[in-house]
Subunit: 154 residues, 3 copies
């Protein structure tokens, strides 16, 4: 058995352009400063008392657990966005909740949607919501564009 | 290198209703008692000699490796189900096998399908199948419904 | 915090035939010698100084982090392929990059596509590409066929 609770979290979001979907996604990851880790997708909980940091300080090639969403499109001129949001509980002994979404919308539209989701998630758990952190990216596709947002836990 | 074998497994399954797909899925996870973990999706092996437990005893916010399947629908009045099954080998030195499925079917239909899959999986490995454990959930969609089933390893 | 860098990597690829998609995929995993692990999907980085090995020596039932792709089809007589490629950097202090793809193409077509992707990935990182390793499988569907390729890190 090995189930450590992560101690730190970091919100990331950025976009990338490339010749194809794979390259655009790779650039979005690099711009978001997670392109040289082995991402492991997780669901959506910030452990109690985890601390926010603005930098991921792991060695290149490390595995990185991260709740993330992304969207990639070749529709030139279209707006694409990706947003993550974290609900911080009033009682710091409780967990935070991560929600995320992406698509052909403006960033602000997605942020509003996620705020509603967080209110529901906190209601579902009978927790009191104190604060919402968001991080997102909006991008107008030039050739082939990708948007990425996530919350890394480490 | 770090590759621990998990020692315990726990079957879970439940459903949730919400205003939207995200909230319904969140409630299904909470009802299945895994909604406050960071789920990491795995494939399908029960390590030899792992022990079944009926409760997951990790701290909130822990990462939890789990083989799972889910299905979410807005088709009001439709039946949706999600089922996991584990094949237990006759020789306890061997591994168990997890299979899972979800969709617009009744639970019993999915259980029968999974039993056939387990027979094939055991044949593929030349192992003798002693017993099949199943856990599933069947739900009739009210507004927006979600079903979830899984086998957590920890 | 627990973020070990993996020390070894192993390329795998193989195919399987079955009565249904699930069984075909299971056989492909078994033929590729990863069918008795709990696969955890990762993205795409070979840690600096990791060593290639041709055998995965973990106990049955272990979790195995692996970048992989697969494709399964019931279109009898059709060719399906799955390929992974690794770009090895000239400077061994740098990371390697994994790319992968699958589909209704011949293996050689996918290999050429991945080579182009690696050139872009290395350009994106301003790294010098020394060598490309590839592993792939091509399969003509009989009844229900599956192809799988991956790079395991452990």
């Amino acid at each position: 058995m090995f189930t450590p609770q992560k101690k730190r979290f970091c919100l990331v979001a950025d976009s990338g352009e490339g010749d194809n979907l794979s390259s655009a996604f790779d650039k979005a990851l690099l711009n978001a400063k997670v392109g040289n880790y082995n991402l492991i997708k997780i669901t959506s909980i910030i452990p109690p008392k985890a601390i926010q940091t603005n930098k991921i300080t792991l060695p290149v090639g490390s595995t990185l657990t991260i709740a993330y969403d992304s969207f990639t499109s070749k529709k030139q001129g279209e707006v694409i966005s990706s947003v993550v949001a974290i609900g911080i509980p009033k009682n710091k002994k409780n967990q935070g909740i991560i929600v995320k979404t992406s698509g052909f919308q403006e960033k602000d539209t997605l942020v509003e949607q996620l705020k509603k989701e967080l209110v529901e998630s906190f209601n579902n758990r009978s927790l009191e919501l104190e604060q919402i952190l968001t991080k997102g990216i909006e991008h107008t596709v030039i050739n082939c564009g990708s948007v990425f947002s996530g919350v890394a836990l480490f």
